[in-house]
């Protein structure tokens, strides 16, 4: 299993290199002179503009720029922001943790809503519970995350005054709750459908029939026999959802004025701050790939067949 893990991890390296090349090349085309962004609204003199251009290494060829960027990447250096002059690594180190806290909480909320809802919809198939959850899920899937964010803000913060409108505040849980719930709810809409279909399939299996014939309590059958075997597709989707969460984090963090990496990326795109755009996108893609790897690993832990069959052949 560990060998498999390392192989997979190793394989992500060329993929990430490809992502870097692609981003680097595409972002070369950004119109306008990045050096100008250093001066804000002022028009710089010829000489000072040249100085900044040299400092940002813009006078070198694309190839040289790329190799030196890669060299820096290997040392963990992501360059400096064109706009603030701050090392990109430090910006990411500062803004990533709040984003991750939000994402983690969103996944928890997603699971807490989607798994019970999906299980219930499977057990109560073709009843009003099933139909109700279908309609809610269909609407949420079609809803842009920023719209749900604005509606929550309007309702829970502005009208009811239950929750803060946005921002990190003192960093306490209550500030995390609304943005995480918004992201978690939308992800839960997809997941509840997958949970339901996975459960329906498993409930139809021979071993669930056998467990019923054994007279085991209904709850035991649903949770220990059915749900346990329905986890693999559920978890696979949670992994894929991490990508969805990263995407929705940009709009969510913007709506809630959350000082995370998504929000920072939004600002960087507005400013065409190339090193920061590349650094942030690369970091988030790397996380995405890593999370999917982690999900594979957990799949192995849950499904003993995946885990053990890779370790050794078992005698029969």
């Amino acid at each position: 299993m560990l060998g498999y893990f390392w192989r997979r991890l190793l394989w992500t390296m060329p993929v990430l290199l490809g992502v870097t090349v692609l981003l680097f090349l595409l972002l070369q085309v950004i119109p306008g002179d990045p050096a100008l962004s250093r001066f804000g609204d002022r028009l710089p003199s010829e000489q000072s503009l040249r100085n900044v251009q040299e400092q940002l290494r813009l006078t070198e060829s694309v190839y040289t720029q790329f190799t030196s960027y890669l060299g820096g990447l290997i040392r963990g250096d992501l360059g400096t922001s064109y706009v603030t002059g701050e090392p990109v690594r430090e910006i990411i180190a500062r803004t990533l943790p709040p984003s991750l806290r939000l994402a983690f909480l969103a996944i928890v909320i997603e699971l807490l809503i989607a798994v019970p809802a999906g299980v219930l919809a499977a057990i109560k198939r073709d009843t009003w519970i099933d139909r109700f959850s279908f309609v809610i899920a269909a609407i949420l899937v079609a809803m842009p995350v920023f719209l749900l964010g604005l509606l929550f803000q309007l309702f829970f913060a502005i009208r009811l005054h239950w929750l803060p409108v946005g921002g990190l505040g003192d960093g306490s849980f209550i500030y995390h709750l609304m943005p995480a719930a918004v992201m978690g709810l939308i992800a839960a809409a997809y997941l509840s459908r997958v949970t339901q279909s996975a459960m329906l399939e498993v409930l139809d299996s021979d071993y669930v029939l056998a467990a019923r014939a054994d007279g085991l309590p209904a709850g035991r059958i649903v949770f220990h026999y059915a749900l346990r075997n329905a986890w693999p597709p559920i978890l696979a989707l949670v992994g894929l959802h991490f990508g969805l969460l990263i995407g929705s984090a940009i709009a969510t963090e913007y709506v809630f004025d959350w000082p995370g990496l998504g929000h920072r990326l939004y600002i960087a795109v507005g400013q065409r701050d190339r090193p920061l755009i590349i650094g942030a996108t690369l970091t988030l893609s790397f996380l995405f790939v890593l999370v999917n790897l982690g999900v594979d690993l957990i799949q192995g832990l849950i499904n003993p067949k995946v885990r053990l069959s890779r370790r050794s052949e078992i005698d029969v």
Binding site: P14, V15, L16, G18, V19, L22, L23, L26, L27, V29, I30, P31, A138, I139, V141, A142, M143, P144, V145, F146, L147, L150, L151, L154, I158, G243, L244, I246, G247, S248, I250, A251, Y254, V255, L265, Y266, A268, V269, G270, R272, I277, T281, L284, S285, F288, V289
Partner: protein, 265 residues
């Protein structure tokens, strides 16, 4: 035909009809401002009210529908036109062609869709054409992967292998055996993809990277409404409902087609 499919077709049909018809009214101008009516609640004059610049929300809504439908339908068409041939060729011929295409797919799928779109819009700048380009550029790998898997599935079937051995040209095998087998999943995926692009366009425009103001776009309308939503919630609700309906409509059609064509994931 299932109720899901009928409802989806009804929603999208009405939406397209409205978006087409609104252009026939002389007075319907999405950027015209009524200086007498800023942020008015829905009334007989302005059925869905006006926004903070005195523009009629219903008219803007319908013109924005044109934007949204145009960009999503054309972008998905482009995704299929790029992804399908690449996937077919990779799956059919295998070898180094497959290697190159598959690695490219891996690389593109390593960025989450919206993240990639936001980063690329920094390069391309706002605009309808650029949204289309970015969506097509980021969306094709999914179709290609689907097509590739479908081809491999078909080509390994005995009867197809027999036809190949008998000297059929690749073109013949594709047309007669491969395409019929994979067209169902690709169609379903493409229809669902329209909904995804609608959401993505709305998100990009909302963030200010998509359609440039004052062009009509649902995302832009919501971004506008954000400034006044505490006092004029209708300005937020109307475009919000429009996005949900459009996306829901395509999703319902996709699901209906999946059941109709009996496709299992």
């Amino acid at each position: 035909m299932s109720n899901t499919l009928k409802l989806g077709i009804l929603i999208i049909g009405l939406l397209i009809l409205a978006a087409v018809l609104v252009g026939l009214f002389d007075g319907a101008d999405p950027v015209a401002q009524d200086q007498q009516a800023f942020l008015e609640a829905p009334s007989a004059d302005h059925w869905l009210g006006t926004d903070r610049l005195g523009r009629d929300i219903l008219v803007r809504l319908l013109f924005a529908g044109r934007t949204s439908l145009t960009v999503s339908l054309t972008a998905v068409t482009a995704m299929v036109l790029i992804g399908l041939p690449l996937g077919l060729v990779a799956g059919y011929f295998g070898g180094w062609v497959d290697n190159v295409v598959s690695r490219l797919i891996d690389i593109f799928l390593a960025f989450p869709f919206i993240l990639g779109a936001v980063a690329l819009m920094a390069v391309f700048g706002p605009g309808l054409w650029n949204i289309f380009l970015v969506m097509a550029l980021l969306g094709w790998p999914q179709i290609a992967r689907l097509a590739r898997a479908g081809v491999i599935d078909e080509v390994t079937k005995d009867y197809v292998a027999a036809v190949k051995v008998a000297g059929a040209t690749p073109w013949y095998v594709m047309r007669r055996h491969v395409l019929p087998g994979i067209s169902g999943p690709v169609i379903v995926f493409a229809v669902m993809g329209v909904g995804t692009v609608i959401l993505a366009e709305a998100t990009l425009s909302f963030l200010g990277f998509g359609m440039p103001a004052p062009q009509p776009s649902w995302g832009l309308m919501i971004s506008d409404a954000r400034l006044v939503y505490a006092t004029a919630p209708w300005a937020l609700i109307a475009p919000g409902v429009a996005i949900i309906l459009a996306c829901l409509g395509f999703n319902l059609i996709g699901e209906g087609l999946r059941d109709l064509l009996d496709i299992h994931e």
